[in-house]
């Protein structure tokens, strides 16, 4: 029996209840009931369900290399955190600063604030100001909400909008109709010692003629990592435990054949412990994060080949970080409140028999109120126009050509074009060549920071502004083979060049008391990446066995251009001292250019093998190896290896009340001494999880 993880319309429900929509309209509107045999089934007219924008491009026709992480892979991996899933993407680097601060990076330039990938959840960007990063831990999203993740490896501005510079993570959650009934999911594990890790999630969903909806309520707590003494002293005693409550809801109302309204709401409330007793500015205390979002998508279908999609979303994130210095003298705050409103209209249509054309426009308003980061609340208005044509020149030859024109709200207008050619040598084998340009707009913090603690008279960042967007030029050739035997091969060679790379540039703030370096942001580097990466998948024995192998090899380099700010500013100290401080600042920025090549693993690979042991039992092994990495904040992450094992057994009636699954996951089963760049030890940990439909 084929075992794939499809939209699991799981759990309890009575047939009649399912067949009646929520608002009580009868199901049998156009048919004879019971055993009457009628012609109505043959003559009944249906609306277009799979309209143009619902149909995604198949992998052999996409203009970029795309890795799809499906539900089978998510389940087989046994991962508990969404960020970890990207270990299954060739060339992607995942690490944690602490138990609740993962970062996901593609290519290099890795630091705590990875900000060169667009991240979307159902079309809503979760790449948030002021740093333009993703708060993975506080996304109101549970692993089981995810239908699949498409990771676009390469710039894709015409299709995915702003900031799709090095790649795009596009998380697609399950349809509102994917759940019919109720289920509970619990996890318990020994992560981080102490109380370990616990998750509990309750779901409920209903599906009807005109309205589908699903609800999720969840809580998770985690004791974080251990920071053993031999590593950084300042993390000794560091407490990185966290607990988060979350809820989300998705409803889809489709009153007639033409229109579909998709409403999503989400909320999360997290408390993260941070600080250590030896840290003057951050003794042990809690950070309280609160996020919510609302989004509405209206899809109007005008026929099989044409539709309009109007999408609005609002995202709010509030972070409260307040504490005294460890001597109890000064009250410090790092509070941040962010709002983003975005509206986008897209029209997709077929032009003649050979062209599928999508175009649209979007406007975005971002605001950030962060008294420690900015002198005053900041607001930004951005807008963009985009178009992409998929031109089928011949049955074998496909041309994707598109561009995005963006006004970044900081006085710049840039065009991000993309051209890709896909040639099907045979129906099973495709070669792809593409060239594209994309821009990353400066983050609000990069452009407008004035980051200081007034109480202690310390100035950390002070932006001089006027930054140009980072510009990525990407060239790639790829091969994709999807064979009937169950084998698929996806290989890609690329060369990316990013100019105007924005980086922190040290200088001495004239009014600084201690004359320690502060930082400006400047377009300081030009970097290049050349590499080869790919995925080989093989499934056999009616897909009871599945093997996925990812690999990536990359070389990177950076060139410093221009003159570091510290070399041009007026002396802030008497000459001999000033020379020393200048030397330190210059060395710091030169070291970034020198070490940039190590800011992504030169080699990395992963293997995921899953097997259906018997009808109700499945097992999987995941091995993940990442080469050593230099984190640009000055830390080094040694080579990390990890073997994860998962075994699961289903019980009761599958998909029905009383049915469910129990599973055991052991991470880092071989107990490789995996040490994070911040000094944490990822020791062996085990989780027991259970799902029950009721």
């Amino acid at each position: 029996m084929k075992k794939r993880n499809r939209p699991l319309w799981c759990c309890s429900c009575q047939y009649l209840a399912w067949m009646f929509m929520f608002s009580g309209f009868p199901v049998f509107t156009a048919c004879y009931a019971g055993d009457d045999v009628s012609e109505q089934s043959y003559l009944q007219d249906f609306p277009v369900v799979l309209s143009a924008s619902r149909l995604s491009q198949p992998l052999p026709e996409t203009p970029n290399a795309v890795t799809v992480i499906d539900r089978d892979m998510i389940r087989a991996s046994g991962f508990r955190n969404i960020a970890d899933l990207f270990r299954m993407v060739p060339g992607m680097y995942v690490d944690y600063r602490d138990g609740y601060s993962p970062f996901v990076s593609y290519r290099g330039g890795t630091d705590d604030y990875t900000r060169r990938m667009q991240v979307l959840v159902d079309g809503r960007s979760v790449y948030l100001p002021p740093y333009n990063t993703v708060d993975w831990e506080d996304l109101p999203l549970h692993m089981d909400d995810i239908e699949r993740i498409e990771v676009v490896r390469g710039p894709a501005a015409p299709s995915y909008g702003s900031n799709s510079v090095l790649g795009v993570i596009n998380i697609i959650t399950r349809d509102a109709s994917a759940l019919d009934g109720a289920s509970i999911f619990v996890t318990r594990g020994n992560a981080g010692g102490g109380n370990g890790a616990s998750d509990a999630v309750v779901r409920y969903g209903r599906s009807g003629e005109r309205l589908d909806y699903r609800l999720m309520l969840g809580a998770k707590s985690d004791n974080g990592f251990n920071f053993p003494a031999p590593y950084k002293n300042w993390y000794n005693g560091y407490n990185d435990s966290s607990h988060t409550y979350m809820a989300n809801m998705r409803g889809n109302y489709h009153p007639g054949g033409q229109d579909s309204f998709d409403l999503q709401l989400g909320f999360s409330d997290g408390t993260h412990a941070t600080g250590d007793p030896g840290n003057y500015h951050a003794p042990p205390h809690d950070i309280k994060n609160n996020s919510n979002f609302q989004q509405l998508t209206w899809l109007r279908t005008l026929g099989q080949q044409e539709d309009f999609r109007l999408h609005y979303s609002h995202t709010h994130r509030n972070s409260v970080d307040e504490r005294y210095t460890n001597d109890g003298l000064y009250w410090l705050t790092d509070n941040v409140s962010v709002h983003r409103h975005e509206i986008e209209l897209q029209h997709t249509t077929q032009l003649g028999s050979a062209n599928r054309f999508a175009w649209g426009a979007a406007m975005r308003e971002e605001s950030a109120d962060a008294p420690t980061l900015f002198l005053a609340p900041q607001k930004l208005h951005q807008s963009r126009l985009f178009a992409n044509d998929e031109w089928r020149i011949s049955p074998r030859l496909l041309l994707n050509i598109g561009a995005m024109l963006e006004s970044n709200g900081m006085g710049r207008k840039d065009v991000s074009p993309r051209v890709a050619v896909n040639y099907h040598v045979t129906p099973e084998q495709t070669f792809r060549a593409g060239i594209s340009v994309a821009h990353r707009n400066p983050a609000l913090f990069e452009e407008r920071s004035n980051n200081r603690y007034t109480a202690t008279l310390e100035q950390y960042f002070l932006s001089s502004g006027g930054l140009r967007p980072e510009r990525a030029l990407s060239r790639e050739i790829g091969y994709l083979g999807e064979f009937r035997s169950g084998l698929s091969i996806d290989v890609r060679a690329y060369n990316d060049q990013v100019s105007n790379l924005i980086f922190a540039d040290p200088f001495v703030y004239p009014w600084s008391v201690n004359k320690m370096p502060s930082y400006d942001f400047r377009n300081e580097f030009m970097v290049h990446y050349t590499g080869l990466e790919g995925t080989v998948k093989y499934s056999w024995d009616a897909k009871k066995n599945r093997l996925i192998f990812n690999f990536a090899h990359q070389v990177a380099g950076a060139t410093l251009f221009g003159t570091p700010k510290i070399m041009t500013q007026a002396p802030a100290l008497p000459p001999p001292l000033w020379g020393i401080v200048q030397g330190i600042g210059l060395a710091q920025i030169q070291s970034i250019a020198r070490d940039f090549s190590a800011s992504a693993p030169m080699n990395s690979f992963s293997i995921l093998y899953s097997r259906q042991v018997w009808e109700r039992c499945s097992a999987s092994l995941g091995y993940y190896q990442q080469g050593a990495v230099y984190i640009l904040t000055g830390d080094r992450q040694p080579l990390s290896r990890r073997l994860d094992v998962r075994i699961a057994e289903q019980f009761g009636p599958a998909g029905k009340v009383g049915g469910g699954e129990v599973s055991l996951v052991v991470q880092n089963a071989l107990k490789d001494s995996s040490v994070g760049y911040s000094g944490y030890l990822f020791d062996r940990r085990a989780y027991l999880a259970a799902t029950l439909n009721f």
């Binding site: 499809r6 939209p7 009575q14 309209f25 156009a30 249906f46 369900v49 009807g208 099989q304």
Partner: protein
């Protein structure tokens, strides 16, 4: 004198060729179950086919209306067929009726079953045609899933036989109170490569089609429908007969009746069309033949259809 006249009349009746006697227009009454859409399309196409054929065509859109006993009645749809079967009409040609519906009609009106003047052109396609479409369309996919509720048992037997003949594996999932549709659908998508939609109104209707098509698409499993509407909505392909094709076959049967006062045996529509959804096939990464090629391929091998 009166007796002489009568004798002359009998003489004329005996010796005048039959064709001359039937030269009077054949009265055909078309009774529609509904006065809309496909029913009107059928009556319009039939009228066109019978133009200048010495046939007087009258279209009635109310099955309850009194209809003439003589002449031929064409009942369009089950509602009309049921009303006419119970009337005193002499000759009836039923169209737009599924085979199982016609069988049920004959069961309910056994006198009609014995009559040579009651026949039908079925709206559904023979199982062989469906199976051959799947083979021609998706040669690599051998595992076919179906969902069942009130699908006629005889049709199911036919389908099983045809699947077995072509060495296709049929996964049947019958829905019921303890096996709801969403669970059954999940099972069928898990166990099969293709979902074959059947004319089972308890499963496939306007309430359910959206979620069935979306779930199948997300699973990467194509749906094979049985009407053009399914293809429009998002099924990969369907084989069906159009109202015009059925009208053409009905016109031939009517003309034959006009000549012989006999109707051909009840049968499936000889003409059919294949419709495919290129966008869906492309998105699912399926390289399929064109509708014309598929039609030709199925037609070419239909000679051995029982």
């Amino acid at each position: 004198m009166r007796a002489l006249c009568a004798l002359a009349a009998v003489f004329l009746w005996l010796f005048i060729p039959a064709g001359h006697l039937h030269a009077a227009p054949l009265a055909v009454t078309v009774v529609l179950s509904e006065s809309s859409g496909a029913y009107l399309e059928f009556s319009d196409a039939l009228r066109e086919k019978l133009l200048n054929k010495n046939i007087y065509l009258n279209v009635v859109d109310d099955p309850g209306e009194a209809i003439p006993e003589q002449g031929l009645i064409v009942a369009v749809g089950m509602k009309a067929a049921t009303a006419i079967a119970g009337s005193s009409a002499h000759a009836i040609l039923n169209v737009f009726v599924p085979r199982a519906g016609y069988e049920k009609l004959l069961h309910d009106f056994p006198l009609r079953a014995a009559s040579k003047t009651c026949s039908a052109i079925f709206l559904d396609q023979p199982a062989e045609r469906q199976v051959r479409l799947i083979e021609a369309l998706l040669p690599g996919k051998r595992s076919i899933g179906i969902l069942l509720d009130s699908y006629p048992p005889d049709d199911l037997v036919q389908l099983r036989q045809r699947m077995a003949k072509h060495k296709l594996t049929l996964h049947e999932h019958k829905i019921g109170p303890d096996f709801p549709l969403h669970v059954a659908l999940q099972h069928v998508l898990d166990s099969s490569d293709v979902l074959l939609a059947l004319p089972d109104a308890a499963i496939y209707n306007s309430s359910t089609i959206r979620n069935i098509l979306l779930a199948s698409y997300h699973s990467g499993d194509p749906v094979i429908g049985f009407s053009p509407s399914y293809v429009k909505a998002g099924a990969l392909a369907a084989v069906f007969s159009t109202p015009a094709q059925i009208a053409a076959q009905a016109a031939m049967a009517i003309q034959r009746y006009g000549e012989t006062r006999m109707l051909p045996a009840a049968q499936h529509s000889q003409q059919f069309e294949v419709s495919t959804n290129e966008q869906v096939s492309r998105s699912l990464g399926l390289a399929i033949k064109s509708a014309e090629e598929l039609h030709q391929e199925i037609s070419a091998i239909m000679g051995d259809e029982p």
